[in-house]
Amino acid sequence: MAAPQLRRLGQAPRHLLVCEKGHARHARSRHAAHVRDHAYNCRVSFLIPECGILPEVLKSTVADVGEYYLVRSLPVHELVAQEFIDAFVKKGSCYALSYNTKIDQDNTAALLPNGKLILSVDKDTYEELGLQGRPSQYSGKKVMRYIITIDLTDAGFHPDSKKHNRVLWALKEKKPLEFDFLLAWYTNIGAGGSTLMSYFSKNQIQALKPKITFSTLRDLQCPVLQSNELQGKPDESCSTEELFEWLGAVLNQVSLDNTSSSFLSTYCCPQPNVMVEKAFLCTITGFIIPEKIIQLLEQLCCYFGEPKLAYWLTLTVHGFADSPVSWRESEHGFHKGGENLYNFVIFRNLDYWLQMAGTSRRMPDIYLQRS
């Protein structure tokens, strides 16, 4: 009996890193689609080597990331109300995510820009609600968690339909659910902030600004990368995994110049590397919608429009660890870390690398099969 137990000591939890390369200006490039598919982002940071002062265009793009809103104890049935659907869901991209709810313990709710309301609820709540759902992928043999998906833009979901009435009754009378919600709304016409504010004026609503920090890193060791070599070449360029680890170290302010005999840490910058005099690091935290990240990505591509010393730059986006979905509508669970993040490396010739990380159940199959 001991042998299998011992073998499990050497096992690590499974995880997945998908790396892609392509060209940002290619007609069939899907890099923007990947950004759009990842709806809930809590942190965006970009690192530009050999850059001391941020260009004005980028600075204004960063400042324009936009407000988001926090509504305290909002009943979920208000998101299903026809006035709300007509005013926001059908007229733009409406993002909502329950705040301070833990995906492995609490009930959580999220509204995707395509009009799908996703409720991730425990077994008791599911049975009380009486709405149709499916067992969660993360609950194991004994199902303790269910996912309910309601399509608010469905043609059959109009105020007189049985389905609409049933959902409203379930959320209003049968089992009233209430969450603090993070809200953001994006339309082509303009910022919809004031409309959201006035719509929820009865509730406690607060407009919040993303927190932006700038810093300049001095004498940073940067790995040498070659855009057409994802796997890297010994003595010529570093691989995507090495870059990924290095980036984590830089964002955490870990020292990069250790020796292999050091007692404390043996981590050092991957070989080959170059010493960069200064690098610019900008971090934005808040409830950041994909549309703004696409704008930022576009501006970062334009950064190389003029000749620059930097050979590449990176853009890292972290998703909420506790959101019920990660990419598209694929279910997200916490497991041991809840990480769902992606990272872009933009090269001078506008080639890009995209790295997407998570545990293997979290990414839609389409990302794994298409090659």
Binding site: Q11, L17, V18, C19, E245, T266, G337, L350
Partner: protein, 147 residues
């Protein structure tokens, strides 16, 4: 960095399943107030001694890096090779004393690459290992009651 620009990259995808060489843990050491706080070297020594206590000399030889250590909050980021993750985690969980004082390690976060988060407490979870500890304590209590 002056080099000839290579031609535009063709689309390529690599899928790495559980291929990461290392895993990372954000941990916090909990000590009763008022005592001396360990320096970074003492902290590393504590981690090694925890490994030795549970897994013996072979366990103590496991390469663990203290990537970052904050003495003020007693929190650290550890790096360990993937095959040693469970050993490290279990050793940290079962460690109970630092210099004859009660102590406990809390694993706040575990990740492959993760950003520093200000309110790291938000991520505090009942991990499987903590559950295991509760079970162990329960069974010990049961035994005491039976005796």
């Amino acid at each position: 960095m002056a080099r000839a620009e290579p031609p535009a990259a063709a689309f390529e995808r690599r899928v790495l399943r559980s291929a990461a060489e290392h895993h990372y843990l954000r941990v916090r050491l909990e000590l009763p107030d008022g005592g001396a706080r360990p320096s970074v070297a003492q902290f590393k020594q504590l981690v090694v001694s925890a490994l030795r206590e549970l897994h013996g000399e072979v366990g103590a030889a496991l390469p663990v890096d203290v990537l970052m250590y904050e003495e003020k909050t007693l929190s650290a980021v550890l790096r360990v090779i993937s095959s040693g993750l469970v050993k490290l985690w279990s050793a940290l969980t079962l460690l109970g004393y630092y210099q004859n004082r009660r102590c406990a390690f809390r694993v706040l976060q575990f990740w492959v690459l993760k950003c520093p988060v200000k309110d790291a407490y938000f991520f505090l979870r009942r991990s499987d290992f903590q559950l295991l500890c509760i079970l162990v304590k329960k069974s010990q209590l049961q035994q005491k009651l039976n005796d």
